[in-house]
């Protein structure tokens, strides 16, 4: 091996060692930095992709009308999401008032965002949204649509954020089942063959006996997700050796996400 190659190998080893020594915070900063650098390309690419899709599907209209329509749709979804939040909160407040006289909860503060890209990797389920620190988004904030919960933010840079979808095995959400006292943890599956994955609700009691169609909401335990957000509907229930497990159909079609809302708090 020539001297140049040995020196190159040594430099390579030193740089590699430097990166391998990164902790979680350094990795997060490094990742956020790279995302911030690539944000203009990702946003432009997303715009191009939408234009191509628009042309392909033959949905051409006047530019102004299209813009106005898009704005109205976002506003409509925001209102529907707020309504959904209000319904969930109302349901919970009523329950708590009757049972424990807990204090009233308020509706969510939402930041509208657009999905820019989907994750290109095999083992993680994420999307990238076009909102970041500049809009007040932080790590571990819930992300919803008008139909229910979709995930939480993980990496946040100035103008772009990565959202870990509820269908990812690593996204664990404390949940409760409508019409029962059952509580469990919802998580995704490591690998799914279809575009619409199922979720698993684990650690239920063996006697749970959940029925298909029952709604599953966030329970609020854990601090990341506020209570009352719809996660999905029970598809099936089975008893395992130590606990009960339900398979859920996600409330939101995770394969066609466009406009989402980041929950920054309650009003």
């Amino acid at each position: 091996m020539s001297r140049t190659n040995i020196i190159a190998l040594l430099i390579f080893g030193a740089i590699l060692g430097y990166f391998l020594s990164f902790g979680s915070e350094s990795t997060r900063k490094f990742k956020a930095g790279v995302y911030q650098l690539l944000a203009p390309f990702l946003t432009t690419g997303s715009g191009l992709q939408k234009q191509i899709t628009s042309v392909r599907t033959g949905l051409k209209s006047l530019e102004q009308l299209e813009r106005e329509n898009a704005a109205l749709q976002v506003e409509n979804r925001a209102l529907r999401a707020t309504n959904q939040g209000l319904r969930d909160v109302e349901h919970e407040v009523n329950r708590l008032r009757h049972a424990l006289n807990y204090r009233e909860r308020s509706v969510f503060k939402l930041i509208a965002a657009e999905v820019v890209t989907r994750d290109s990797s095999t083992w993680w389920r994420t999307v990238t949204i076009n909102r970041g620190k500049q809009e007040g988004i932080e790590t571990d904030m819930p992300v919803v649509t008008d139909e229910g919960l979709i995930g939480k933010t993980t990496t946040v840079s100035d103008s772009i954020s990565v959202v870990l979808l509820v269908s990812d095995e690593n996204c664990k959400v404390a949940a409760s089942v409508e019409g029962s006292r059952e509580q469990g943890i919802v998580s995704g599956e490591r690998v799914t063959a279809g575009l619409n994955p199922f979720l698993n609700l684990n650690f239920l009691s063996k006697q749970a006996d959940l029925k298909s169609g029952q709604k599953v909401y966030t329970s609020g335990v854990g601090g990341v997700f506020p209570s009352g957000l719809l996660i999905g509907l029970v598809k099936s229930f089975r008893v395992r050796e130590l606990d009960g497990q339900a398979q859920l159909t996600p409330a939101v079609d995770l394969s066609h996400l466009e406009d989402v809302f980041v929950v920054t708090g309650r009003k």
């Binding site: 590699l16 490094f30 390309f41 290109s120 095999t122 083992w123």
Partner: protein, 180 residues
């Protein structure tokens, strides 16, 4: 050097493009990976130090864009993709004489195998963290599918990069005479 910098730009474009290429539902949702094929071509066309630089660059991009920090935990450390790229690119670099003799098929097949090996290595790393090592049909297809796809596109990518090398008057191209 122009060719090397062009390769860097192409890797960046390909990495961004991968975000917009949907998974293949008819292949158990397997993803399409183009970057490894470009890196493996670079491994054959570039001298050893530049090959390492390309592996470093592509690995960093892959780590930055795909590895996630969840709940304060990193499943795959930053730098692991650099190591994977460097090892597989090193193997391809070692087989350069075959490529120079016109045996492209070996490298096309190897590109597929190495692409799948990178995904398999990632899977083993996350399994080590998450537990429960399982290999279902879906998992095999999600590991093998991108490799098959990489094999299929490798001749086109190699041909394009070879042509790009020629028009940029790149001298370190694998010429037959250098090895015979």
């Amino acid at each position: 050097m122009i060719f090397f910098f062009l390769l860097l730009v192409i890797v960046l474009i390909a990495q961004i493009a991968e975000f917009f290429i949907p998974a293949l539902p008819w292949l158990y949702n397997a993803h399409v990976y183009v970057v490894p094929v470009i890196v493996f071509y670079g491994a054959m066309a570039l001298p050893f130090p530049l090959m390492l630089a390309l592996a470093l660059y592509a690995g960093l991009l892959l780590d930055a864009l795909t590895v996630h920090v969840i709940g304060g935990k990193v499943e795959i450390s930053a730098g692991s993709s650099i190591l994977l790229y460097a090892v597989f690119a090193g193997i391809m670099h070692g087989l350069r004489p075959l490529f120079a003799r016109g045996r492209w098929e070996v490298h096309c097949i190897l590109s597929g195998i190495c692409t799948s090996s990178i995904i398999l290595a990632q899977y083993l790393m996350i399994t080590f963290r998450r537990g429960s090592l399982v290999f279902t049909r879906e998992i095999w297809w999600q590991i093998g599918g991108p490799g098959l796809f990489a094999m299929a596109i490798a001749p086109i990518v190699f041909w394009f990069l070879q042509w790009l090398g020629r028009i940029t008057a790149y001298r370190y191209l694998p010429e037959r005479s250098r090895f015979e």
